[in-house]
Structure formats: C-alpha cells, structure tokens
C-alpha cells in the first residue's frame, strides 16, 4: 500500500511539472513553480544529509580498528575545523578564505596534476590495449589538438593550425552533437519510465 502511494505521488508530481513546462496555463505554471521550489529545498537538504553521511562513515572508520583510519581522522578534523571557522567568522572572512586558498585549491590542483599524468599514461597505453582504427584516430586527434593549442615555440607548421580549427569546428562538434542527441533520447526514456511507474528509484519495487 505504501509503495502504491509513493508511486502515485511520483507519477502525479511528474506529470504536473511536465505539463506545466509545456502548457502555459497559470494553474499548471504556478503549481510547477511551487513543486520545483519544494524540490530545490529538498535537494539542498540532501546536500546536508550528504555531509552527515560522510561524517558518519568516517566516524565509524576512525573509531573501529580499520586500515587507514588515520585518513578518516584527518578528514573529520578538517571538516570540523572548516565548519567551525566558516561558521563562526563567515565564508568570506580572510580566515575562511585562507583555508580555501592554501588547502583546498592546492589539493584540487594536485589532483588535476595527477589527472594529467594519468591521461597521458592512458594515451600511451591505448594503442596497445585497443589496437584498432578508433584508437589511432583518438591519439592522432589528441596530439594535433595538443600541439596546436599551445604556442609550439612560435613554429608555424603549415596546415596544422587550420587542421586544428577544422577538427574543433566540424568533426568534434558533429560527434558531440550526435552523442548529445542520443543521450537526450536516453534521458527522455528514463524520465518516461519513471513517469509511468516502470522504474521506481525511490524504492517502490
């Protein structure tokens, strides 16, 4: 019975929002806006719940004898200190910005640096892992774009700059469009499955 109620609510709200988006009737539009505002509040609450979940997972890990629990303790300490400083002084206070500028930004920049190494490593191994035409095209495109994005020591290789512009304007855009169209169809299908109750990610199975 409870599952039926959940499903009915999900389907009803979904239909109202969908029709409210396409049909510009005042009642539907107003209802849509109200429902979306409620949803926005719920999503913001879910963000807080995410923080709590993170806290609980790492608290359990740090209080039990599990491997690498030092990392969990460090995370909990960082979370607590940042929350305390930003909560007490405000998010735009110099102390809060100091944590952001000298801890968070360098950490994320380091991850970006690791990412660049990982991507180059993957590019080096790609031809051996998947020796096919697609991999050759992939690597060739990556090399051309990389070479022509940077200044290349001021060397002007004839045709390469035009090739880069052409790749960026024609095949890359066309491929991106095609993939996005397919993805859009998939998104509509997924949404309709939820609207008709065939998919119940809210636990109504």
């Amino acid at each position: 019975m409870r599952n039926l109620v959940y499903t009915a609510i999900a389907i009803g709200v979904g239909i109202v929002v969908l029709l409210g988006y396409f049909l510009q009737f005042d009642l539907l539009v107003n209802l849509r806006i109200v429902l979306l505002e409620w949803a926005t509040i719920l999503v913001a609450t879910a963000l807080l719940i995410g923080v709590v979940n993170l806290f609980i997972v790492h608290w359990r890990k740090s209080t039990t004898d599990q491997p690498n629990r030092v990392n969990s303790i460090a995370l909990l300490a960082g979370l607590t200190i940042t929350l305390g400083v930003a909560g007490w002084f405000g998010p735009t206070d110099p102390y809060s910005l100091w944590i952001f500028n000298y801890i968070l930004i360098p950490i994320e920049a380091s991850l970006m640096g690791i990412l660049s190494v990982v991507l180059i490593y993957a590019g080096v191994r790609l031809l051996r892992r998947k020796p096919n035409l697609l991999s050759i095209v992939f690597i060739t495109t990556a090399v051309v774009i990389l070479l022509m994005t940077g200044p290349l020591f001021g060397i002007d290789i004839p045709g390469l700059a035009e090739l880069r512009i052409w790749i960026g304007k024609v095949p890359a855009v066309a491929g991106a469009r095609g993939i996005l169209l397919g993805v859009s169809l998939g998104i509509i299908a997924a949404g309709l499955r939820i609207l008709i109750g065939a998919d119940r990610p809210y636990g109504g199975n």
Partner: protein, 539 residues
Amino acid sequence: MEKIYCPSCGKPNPIDNKFCDFCLTQFHPQEGDSADSEAPSVPGIGDNQNGLGGHESDSNVPDWLSELQQSNEMEDEKPLDSDPELGQPANAISDWMTGVSGDGEATVGEVSPAAPFLPDQGIDESQDIPHWLNDALIEEEAQDSVEDERPGEVPLGGEGRDVSQGDSSPPKISEETPGDRENAGPLAGLRGVLSAEAGAARVRKPRTYSAKLKVSTSQRAHIDLLNSLLEDEGQPQPLPQRRSISQQHVLRLGIALVLLLAILWPIVIASQEMPFPDYDEGSAEVNRLISQLPENARVLVGFDFEPGLAAELDTAAAPVFDHLLSEGALLTLISTSPSGPLLAERFIRSIKPDQELISGLEYVNLGYIPGGAVGLLSFIENPQGTIPFTIDGLSAWETEGRNGLPATTGISQITDYSMVILLVDDPDTARTWIEQLGPTITNPQVLTSFVLITSAQLEPVVRPYYESSPQPVNGLVVGLRGGAAYARIIGSDEFPGKFWDAFGMGTFVAALLILVGGLGYYVIPELSRTARGQEKVKR
C-alpha cells in the same frame, strides 16, 4: 505323416526333409530312427535315436549316451512324484555331490582340476545317472564355469587347458515330442514346453579376458598429469605477490618526471619567448561587447567551475575582468556549485591586489543557488525571490523603503543586466546555463549579451551555440589561448607570460609523450614477440 524333429531348433519337419525348414540344419539319417521320433534331447541325455541329427551313425554316439537314453526312457515311465530323487532335489544334489566328490575330490562349487569339464567327460559311464541328474550336471557345469572363473585367473580345472578353445560344439538337445514332459531344468515335468532355439540353448564358455589393464605410454602420461592436477587442487596455492614496483609504476613516474621538468624549466629560467596568439574571433567579440557597455553597467557573473581548474580559468578571465572593471562595471556574483561563491570571492580579490574591491559597493556576492538547472531557472525567472540575501547576510535587492546595493540597483529580472558572463569548466553546466538563459537572451527586444569564459575542453560543446543563428552565446573566450589573445588585444601586461611558456612546453611534451611513448609501447613488444616467434620456428 511321419515327422522328424530338428536337433537344433526342435521343430517338427517332414521326415523326407534333408534340411530343417526353420533353421536349415542338415539332417543326418540314423539307424534305428523310428517314425515316431522324439523331440531332440538335451545333449548327452535322453533319447537320441532320432533327434541327434548331427550324428551320422550310431557308431558316433557314445555308449554311455545310448545307455542314458535308455535309462531315460525307463525313468519317463515312472510317475514324477514317485521319483525319490525328484522329490528330494536337495538330497539328490547332495548325494550327487557326494558321489562326484568321491570320484574327483571336488566339493560343491569346485571342480577338480583333474575332473573333466565337458559333459560328455564328466560323468562316469558306469553310473546309472538319471536324466534329471544329467540335466543338473550340465547346468552345474555351466554355473561352475562362471563361478570358478575369477578375474585374472584361469578357470578352475582349466590349468593346462587351453582356454582359448571353448566348447565350440553345440550342446545336444534331447528330442521330445510336443506335449511330452520336459525332463530337465526348472521346467522339468511340465508339458508343452517350447524347446530352446538353437542360438539360445547354446552354452558356451565365455571368453576369458585378462583383468590387467593395458596402459599405453601416452595414457600413463595423461594419468600422471591428472593425478598431479588432482593433488594440486587440494593444496592451497600461495597468492602471487604484487610487485611493489612494476612496469606501470615506472612508466607513470617517468611520465610525471618528464612533464614536471618540461613545465618547471620555463618558470625557473623565467622564459618569455613564446609568442601570444595573433587573433581570436571569440575573444575579439567579447572585447567589442565590453567596450560598448555603458558607465556603471550591471553585470551578472556566474562562477561555475571546480577549484582544480581555478588556475586555467582565473588566468583566462583575468584580462577580461581587468577590462571590465576599467569600464566601471558593477558585478553580481553567483554560482550553482557549492564552492563557486568562494572561488568568486577569491578571484575578485585577486584581480586588483593593489585596489581592493569593496563587497556591497563594487560587487555583490549572492552565493550558491541549490537545485542545479531548476534553481537556475528559478533565479532567471525571479532573482529576488530565489536569492533575497547576499553571502554576507545583507539584503541584496532594493525594495520599497530600502535602497538596494549599487550592483543590484534597478535589477528586478535577469534581462535588466547589461551582460551575463559565465566562467565554466563543465559541458553540462555550460549547456544548462545556455538552455535556461538562451530563450531569454535570443529575444530581439532583449539587449543583454551572454559571454562565456570556458576551459579548453568545452570548445566543441559551446562553439555551435556561438556560431548559430540566433546566437544564444554572443562571445567566447576559450582557455589560456583565448585569455592570451584577449590580453594581446587590450595590450594588458596582466597576463602572466611566464605561464604561457610553461603551458606551451607542457602541451608540446605531452603530445610528444603520447605519440612516441604510444608507438614505442606498441611496436617494441610486437617486435620482440615476432623475434621470439621466429626463434621458435628456427628451433
């Protein structure tokens, strides 16, 4: 009509037949055969006057057999139940056994090695053996030949006997007319018993096979292999130790070191050799749009990128905002990502380090809009209702009886802004902004322009929006290249040239690593594999 009974199948045939009509056995004429011939008898038992067609003359019939037949005739006249031996088959057997044991020193189940096995040899001619006993003898001998033949052993009584030669002669079947009583076997005494067919009645000693398994060399090898597999199955195998430093580690470290050196070297030597790009259409268009802004124009700026890409986007956006602030624009900062407001605050304070911008005066930070696309749409439709306060808790908008902040004065809807600038690194976020804002911006009556400052990875996604008509995106600055082009246009020295050389060296080395490393990683193992294959062929 007189009939003759086939010695093989026992079926009646006309007496004139030379061959049996049923089984084609050749009949042999015998002396003393009477017209009323009897059914074929069990070999060695019974009346063989007619039925033993296999005997051409009486001279071939052993004397004992003929005597037995005679005695059978006499026995047949006796009532069945008066036969003490028939009435007491167990005793009779035991008596027989006693008799046999006395003769050949054999006990029940055993056959004396010296005792002849063939029915025609196993019976003392001098004994007056009843017909049923003869039947039993034959059955016993048949059973003994099965029981005594143990695996791998030569049947008892057969030592010195050539087992390959079995008893090839068919047993003689006694002749009985239909309706006569069966004289032997479990159906003894019953009338109308069908005589056995030739093939079924043949009792032949089974061939003796050696019980030793013949195993060839290859089979022995397979057996040993299977044994070893089965033995290994039960034993726990040690897990393969993961090498602490593998080829993957070496390759990763090598790539990281080379890249690091390539990027650090220009910074260390403060190189500024590499030229800035000549002209970029998107950057030029942004420059034109900013130049046309009125004095104290209200500009909405979205900071929707991750802290990891702050270096690229801050560097690309710096000359744009330098130009913007020099035109006297007032900024409203907003973000749909949680870390966006702090990135915005950090960026604004870093643009002019010697001239600190005052929050609430020259810019307003409205903070984070939750809800993604829905939240953004809500802000576009109703900015004041969606975010009424700034990140510092101040009232952001002017109301009746209260002046708003300078950056938000006169703003009631999104189209009241002169320009919307979005700093973005994610294609989905960029599309969300474009799709939510696009219908409003592309309205011919709306004068608000929409400019994107993006990471280089977004170019294929956002360029169609810039090049389409109507144009939801009016200007585009893409990555460091776009920022460098913009700096060159405005003649700004704010753009950090040392990073440009490092950027150039880094991209070049990355391309080289992928090309050379990839080819080497593929070609070298292939060559070595080919060489190994050729070696094997030579061997």
